[in-house]
C-alpha cells in the first residue's frame, strides 16, 4: 500500500515481533532524519525482531486517516498491541524506546 517496507537484513521468515510504520512527508531533512534514527535504534535494540514500513503521506494522503496522523513524522507501533504513537524526528533514543515500550525487554536481554 505504501512505499515498499524496508526490511532489515536480519529479518526472519516468520512475521516479526515489532511491526512499525513511520509516516513522513516527502524527503524533507526531518523525514530523512527520522528514518535513519529509527533504523539505528531498531538495529541497536530490537535486532531482527522488527519490520519497518515507511509511508509518505504526500504520495498517499488517504492513509493519514487510518492511524489518525496529525503530526509528522509519526512512528506507529502496530504490533505488539496496543497501538502506540511517537511523534517527532526520533532524535531522543530513550524516549523512543519508552514509547515503543522496549527498554525493559532490552535490559533483560543485556
Amino acid at each position: 500500500m505504501a512505499n515498499k517496507p524496508t526490511r532489515p537484513r536480519t529479518a526472519k521468515p516468520r512475521s516479526p515481533e515489532y511491526q512499525l510504520r513511520l509516516y513522513v512527508a516527502g524527503q524533507s531533512a526531518r523525514s530523512i532524519a527520522a528514518v535513519s534514527n529509527l533504523k539505528r535504534i531498531c538495529d541497536a535494540h530490537l535486532g531482527g525482531r522488527y519490520a519497518i514500513e515507511v509511508v509518505d503521506l504526500l504520495e498517499h494522503p488517504h492513509l493519514a486517516k487510518a492511524d489518525d496522523i496529525l503530526a509528522l513524522p509519526t512512528l506507529v507501533r502496530r504490533l505488539p498491541a496496543p497501538i502506540r504513537k511517537i511523534v517527532g524526528d526520533l532524535s531522543n533514543v530513550d524516549r523512543v524506546l519508552l514509547g515503543l515500550d522496549v527498554v525493559k525487554l532490552d535490559g533483560a536481554r543485556g
Binding site: 526531518r30 494522503p61 503530526a71 509528522l72 511517537i86 511523534v87 532524535s91
Partner: protein, 576 residues
C-alpha cells in the same frame, strides 16, 4: 481598513461568501469574507458546530460550493445524527460529493513526543479532504482540541499560524470554531490568528429563560451590524434576527383601513388609520383592549385580508367565545384561514424565540394585519430594555413588510397611562388609550386618541361601551360638572329629556292659545264684513228710491211745462 463606505454596496475589494443562514448575510452585508478564515466562538452548546455545519450544507445546496468538515470533537456519525433533526441529510451529501466529513481524533495518551515535528499530517488530511470534493468551504471544529493532543504549545501555535495562512493561500472560505475562554474570546487565543472576521455566539439565561445571541465582534474591511442579534435554532436550522431594514426606509401608504368600529373610524377622520402603521391600544385591566383588537382583526378579515393574532393571555377558543358575547364572530374567518390565532404563554420561550417565531409566521403567511395581545406580557420574559429592543425590531419588521399592526398593552393604574408602555410609544403611529373612569360608584370605560400621526383625529374623550352587538362609542356628557359617563350621563340625559318635554308642551300650549285667538279674531272679522255688506245693501236701496222719486218729480215738471208751453228747463235732470 475598516471604513464606513462599505456600508451600502459591497466593496469591490472584498468578496463575500454568502452563508445562506437566515439573517447572517444581512448583518454582515453579504456573508463571510471569501477565501479567508472566520472564527466563530462561544460557550459550550451555543451552536458553533451547527453554525459551521449549516454554512457548509447551505453552501453546497444553495451556492454549489462543496464543503469539507474537519471534526476534532465529534465523529462523522455523531455529526450526521445531530444534524439530521435539522433536515440535513449528510449521508446523501457525502455520497454526491457535496460534502466530506473527516473526523480527526486527538488523544493525548497515545502520543509520545520526541524531537521536532510539525502538523503536516493534518495539513495533508485537510488538503486531501479539499481535493476529494473540490471544497470551496472548510470547517475546522474545534481546532483547539489539538492543544490537548500535543504538549508543545510553541510548535502548535506556530503550526496554527501556518495553517491559517495556508488556508488563505488555498482561497477556501473557512469557519474555525473555538470555545469561549475566560479572558479571551477563545481559550487559546485563536482570535490572534484569525483576524478577518470574528463572530461571537452567546447563550444567556435571564429569569430561567434562555436567549441565544450572535454578535459580529469584528469584520475587517466591511461595515457590519454591531448589535447583539438574537438567534434561534429550530427544525430549519439557525436564524438570526433582525432581517429588517436597519434604517427607516419602508414605503408608506395613503390607504386608510377601518378599525372595525365605525365610530372609532369617525374619530380617525372618517376612515380609520393608515395601512402599514403601528397602533397601540393601552389601558387598564378589563378596559376592552382585546375587544378592540378583535374588532380590528374582524375588519381585516372582512376585507378578505389575512390577520395574524398573537394571544399571550387567552386561548383561541376563549377569544372566539368572548368575542361572540359582544357580537363579533371570529370563527368563520378562522375556518376560512384568514384569521390565525397563535396563543402561547410568553414565558414558553425566550424573547428571541418569540421574535423568530413571529418572523417565520410573517414570512410564511404574509398577513396584512397583525395583532399582539398584549405586548406588556413579554416583559415577563426579558428585561424592560430587552423587550423594548424586541418590539423595536418587530415594529421595524411589520413596517418593512407593510403590515398594519395593533398592539395592546396593559397599563397599571398607578403609573400614568401616558407614561406607557414598555417605552414604545415613540415608535407607535397611532395610540388609543382606553381608561376606566370611576365615578358615582361605578366604572365606565372611556376612549381617547392620544396621537395619530399624519391625520386630523378627534381629540374628544368618548365613552366606550361593550354591547352585545359590538363596540359602541358615545359622546360623553359635557356638563357643568365636567364629563359625565355611565349612569351619571344617562341620568343627566334623562333630565335633559324631561326638560325638553316640558318645554315642548309649553310651546304647544302657547301655540294652541294663539290659534284660538286667531279663530276669534277671524270670527270678528267675518261678523264685521257681514255688517259692512248689510250697510252696502241698505245704501243701494236708499239711493234707488231717491232716484226713482226724482225721476217721478222730473216727469211731473215736464208735463206741467208742456201744459204751460214753458221752455224746457236746462239741467233739471241732475238731482241734488
Amino acid at each position: 481598513m475598516r471604513r464606513r463606505q462599505a456600508a451600502r454596496s459591497p466593496p469591490e475589494g472584498l468578496a463575500k461568501t454568502p452563508t445562506g443562514i437566515g439573517g447572517i448575510d444581512q448583518i454582515t452585508g453579504g456573508g463571510l469574507p471569501r477565501g479567508r478564515p472566520t472564527l466563530v466562538c462561544g460557550t459550550a452548546g451555543c451552536g458553533k458546530t451547527l453554525f459551521a455545519m449549516e454554512f457548509l450544507v447551505r453552501g453546497a445546496r444553495q451556492f454549489d460550493e462543496p464543503g469539507a468538515f474537519i471534526a476534532f470533537e465529534e465523529t462523522a456519525d455523531e455529526l450526521r445524527d445531530n444534524v439530521r433533526s435539522l433536515g440535513f441529510d449528510l449521508d446523501h451529501m457525502v455520497r454526491s460529493k457535496q460534502l466530506i466529513v473527516d473526523h480527526v481524533r486527538v488523544e493525548r495518551s497515545e502520543i509520545e513526543e520526541t524531537g521536532e515535528y510539525n502538523l503536516d499530517g493534518l495539513f495533508i488530511r485537510i488538503a486531501h479532504a479539499i481535493e476529494t470534493v473540490k471544497a470551496r468551504r472548510v470547517v475546522l471544529d474545534t481546532i483547539e482540541a489539538l492543544f490537548s493532543g500535543f504538549s508543545d504549545d510553541a510548535i502548535l501555535r506556530a503550526e496554527l499560524r501556518r495553517l491559517f495562512g495556508w488556508l488563505k493561500d488555498r482561497a477556501v472560505t473557512a469557519v474555525i470554531t473555538g470555545e469561549r475562554g475566560d479572558r479571551h474570546l477563545t481559550r487559546r487565543g485563536l482570535e490572534e490568528y484569525v483576524s478577518d472576521c470574528v463572530i461571537l455566539l452567546d447563550q444567556r439565561i435571564h429569569d430561567q429563560v434562555s436567549t441565544r445571541r450572535l454578535r459580529i465582534v469584528k469584520y475587517r474591511g466591511t461595515a457590519h451590524g454591531t448589535n447583539e442579534y438574537p438567534f434561534l435554532i429550530d427544525e430549519q436550522g439557525m436564524s438570526v434576527l433582525p432581517i429588517t431594514s436597519l434604517g427607516l426606509e419602508h414605503a408608506v401608504s395613503d390607504e386608510l383601513i377601518s378599525t372595525g368600529v365605525p365610530a372609532l373610524d369617525a374619530m380617525f377622520g372618517g376612515k380609520g388609520f393608515y395601512r402599514g402603521t403601528s397602533v397601540l391600544v393601552s389601558g387598564s385591566a378589563g378596559s376592552g383592549k382585546t375587544s378592540l383588537a378583535a374588532h380590528f382583526a374582524g375588519a381585516t378579515c372582512r376585507r378578505g385580508e389575512r390577520c395574524l393574532f398573537f394571544a399571550y393571555e387567552e386561548s383561541e377558543a376563549q377569544i372566539v367565545r368572548n368575542m361572540r358575547s359582544i357580537g363579533l364572530e371570529l370563527q368563520p374567518w378562522i375556518d376560512k384561514g384568514l384569521l390565525q390565532i397563535h396563543a402561547a404563554r410568553p414565558s414558553s420561550h425566550g424573547l428571541e424565540m418569540h421574535l423568530v417565531a413571529i418572523h417565520k409566521l410573517v414570512r410564511k403567511l404574509h398577513p396584512q394585519a397583525i395583532v399582539m395581545d398584549p405586548i406588556s406580557n413579554l416583559i415577563a420574559v426579558g428585561t424592560l430594555s430587552e423587550t423594548n429592543a424586541t418590539l423595536v425590531r418587530l415594529i421595524d419588521l411589520f413596517k418593512a413588510s407593510g403590515i398594519t399592526a395593533m398592539f395592546t398593552s396593559l397599563s397599571t393604574l398607578t403609573a400614568g397611562a401616558e407614561q406607557s408602555e414598555v417605552g414604545v410609544s415613540s415608535l407607535i403611529d397611532s395610540w388609543l388609550l382606553v381608561r376606566d373612569l370611576e365615578q358615582n360608584g361605578e366604572r365606565s370605560r372611556t376612549l381617547v386618541i392620544l396621537k395619530s400621526r399624519g391625520m386630523n383625529h378627534s381629540n374628544q374623550v368618548r365613552e366606550f361601551l361593550l354591547t352585545s352587538s359590538g363596540i359602541e362609542l358615545r359622546d360623553v356628557y359635557l356638563g357643568a360638572h365636567g364629563a359625565l359617563t355611565g349612569s351619571a350621563r344617562l341620568g343627566q340625559e334623562a333630565r335633559d329629556r324631561e326638560d325638553e318635554a316640558i318645554r315642548r308642551e309649553a310651546a304647544m300650549l302657547a301655540q294652541s292659545n294663539l290659534a284660538v285667538r286667531r279663530q276669534a279674531v277671524e270670527a270678528q272679522i267675518a261678523d264685521l264684513q257681514n255688517q259692512l255688506h248689510a250697510i252696502a245693501v241698505d245704501l243701494e236701496s236708499t239711493t234707488g228710491k231717491r232716484r226713482r222719486r226724482e225721476q217721478r218729480v222730473g216727469g211731473d215738471r215736464r208735463a206741467m211745462s208742456v201744459s204751460r208751453h214753458a221752455p224746457r228747463p236746462n239741467g233739471t235732470r241732475s238731482g241734488k
